[in-house]
């Protein structure tokens, strides 16, 4: 089952797991398949104190496989939405959200495309993105990297990026951190002097030129761009035989 070279989806899952490295007892929230797998991988390997949710109103022990039946879960705490805000505002959370648009300074949009007053496309709404980003580390997962998703300036700032947080002042920057952006092409961070997006690694099989061509703004590209790290044998085995034996990850990021 664990034969075969790692797939793109598996590199993405491991890149998502890395977002949780070094976390102690914080609540991991992860939207999308690769982030859900990443949080579980981290919990089972290098971040054993991480706290996962059941996707409903409870915290769970261990790291249940994707789609695990509710009766198989070991619940360890009641976490209804009202209490989730206590966790968000306390900062004891690390989150990977999705982004319909993301821009050069890390603003994210899940609200609307076009003019907010009368959008060309109404999306789900800002949800908790404004609050999440100014309270605890937030990362983004974009499974369809293109000039339409990586844009110069998002249409509606839902999740707050570095420049906007700085302009809003110390109350906005105090707990603000956009830790990483993971796409189907590579991993990105904001480790630049002016806090703009930098290419941190490319997934094997992707070139720097591919990434630059798929990005709708001027990306900071270091002279030497490493490849996203290989999944370990243990990680591949966990992904393939324990966490996602049905291969949902390959539907999100095709092989």
């Amino acid at each position: 089952m664990s034969d075969g070279a790692p797939t793109r989806a598996e590199y993405c899952a491991v890149a998502c797991a890395e977002v949780f490295r070094g976390d102690g007892e914080v609540m991991a929230s992860a939207f999308g398949t690769a982030p859900a797998l990443g949080a579980r991988l981290a919990r089972l390997t290098f971040a054993p104190d991480l706290v996962l949710t059941d996707g409903d109103a409870a915290l769970v022990d261990g790291a249940p496989p994707l789609g695990a039946p509710p009766e198989s879960l070991v619940l360890e705490s009641h976490m209804p939405y009202r209490r989730v805000f206590d966790v968000v505002w306390s900062g004891r959370r690390n989150l990977i959200m999705m982004a319909s648009q993301i821009d050069r300074t890390g603003n994210q949009n899940i609200s609307a495309i076009g003019d907010w007053a009368r959008p060309r496309a109404q999306l789900i709404g800002v949800r908790g993105a404004p609050g999440n980003t100014v309270h605890h580390p937030t990362s983004y997962w974009v499974p369809n990297h293109s000039p339409r998703s990586f844009v110069e300036q998002v249409d509606v700032v839902s999740g707050v990026g570095y420049a906007r947080a700085a302009a809003a002042g110390p109350s906005a920057t105090r707990f603000h951190e956009i830790r990483a952006v993971i796409s189907n092409l590579g991993v990105f961070d904001f480790a630049t002097p002016d806090r703009v997006m930098r290419l941190a690694s490319v997934h094997p099989g992707v070139t720097v030129d591919d990434v630059v061509a798929a990005t709708g703004f001027e990306l900071v590209v270091p002279d030497d761009v490493p490849e996203t790290r290989l999944p370990t044998v243990e990680e591949l085995d966990l992904l393939r035989t324990v966490l996602d034996p049905r291969g949902l990850r390959d539907r999100e990021v095709p092989v």
């Binding site: 939405y81 949800r127 980003t133 947080a165």
Partner: protein
């Protein structure tokens, strides 16, 4: 002892056009859908709807009942967006106040506590402040001098929530995993209504679940309506999960005027017992056709 039981029509009779109306639940979960359907049949209009939005918002927008929506999201959960809400926003047919879902919570909490606002970091730096120029910040009077968003109270003229059990005096019980913000919707409102799967004797409430499930006190309710299946097609755990097949039928029909007219005739231009009967008939047709879904 006050007996707060009433009918759906009596509930709707207490609402007025132009009101600000809070609806409990979250997304496509435990929405007071029977009350929403009753509003669709009424001549109420020009409502401001305050909701952790799901198909309640979509249906009211489709029927032209809505002047303004106050929301952090509108979703059907298993379907990311509601097609009627999307269409209403894209056509500019409804005004919007879009805030972070935590700001929304604080707005209800402030209203419940009769405060003008509550401070929060949420919203700082985001377009929530640009899109809602009426929102203000406040500076901490202490040495930190932090500048925070002053989320204004979301005061409601009326609120409706749907619960698993209630007694005739308006104590409500929530047996599912998440009480959401129903208690705060009621606390924020002048007129407060609970619809319920079943009205039971008071002593059956505590016998039917842990003390923590008795989260709606009669201090918070003015009217109780027994309406089995009253959250359908949204989830009302443990009574029933979301009716995914029906929800798909709703979402698909919304995309086509003829299909929507047929959906409306069959499911919405009928009273609540008629709706429940039509839903059972549609489920029977799906089963008979081997699970294939028609319009």
């Amino acid at each position: 002892m006050a007996d707060k039981r009433m009918s759906l029509d009596e509930l709707v009779g207490e609402l007025e056009s132009g009101m600000t109306l809070g609806l409990g639940g979250w997304g496509s979960r435990r929405k007071p859908m029977a009350a929403v359907r009753a509003i669709l049949r009424s001549d109420l209009t020009d409502l401001t709807v305050v909701s952790y939005g799901g198909p309640d918002v979509g249906l009211l927008c489709a029927a032209g009942k809505v002047a303004k929506v106050v929301f952090g999201f509108v979703t059907l959960d298993s379907i990311p967006t509601d097609p009627h809400f999307r269409a209403a926003r894209q056509a500019g047919r409804v005004e919007a106040m879009e805030v972070d879902e935590g700001m929304f919570y604080l707005g209800l909490l402030a209203a419940s506590q009769r405060l003008p606002f509550l401070p929060t970091r949420a919203g700082l730096g985001s377009d929530v402040l640009r899109c809602n120029p009426q929102l203000r910040t406040v500076t901490s009077p202490y040495d930190d001098a932090e500048e925070l968003v002053a989320m204004p109270a979301l005061r409601l003229d009326a609120a409706v929530v749907h619960v698993n059990r209630a007694d005739a005096r308006g104590s409500g019980q929530l047996l599912g995993p998440d009480p959401f913000f129903d208690e705060l919707f009621l606390g924020a409102a002048d007129r407060r209504f609970v619809t319920t799967e079943r009205v039971v004797a008071t002593d059956e409430l505590a016998a039917g679940g842990p003390l923590g499930s008795l989260c709606i006190s009669r201090l918070l309710t003015d009217g109780v309506v027994e309406t089995p299946g009253g959250a359908h097609f949204t989830a009302c755990v443990p009574e029933y999960g979301r009716d995914e097949a029906f929800q798909r039928q709703y979402a698909t029909a919304a995309g086509d005027p003829d299909a929507w007219a047929a959906f409306r005739t069959r499911f919405l231009d009928v009273d609540e017992p008629g709706y429940q009967a039509a839903v059972r008939a549609a489920a029977g047709e799906r089963a008979a056709s081997g699970g294939r879904e028609g319009a």
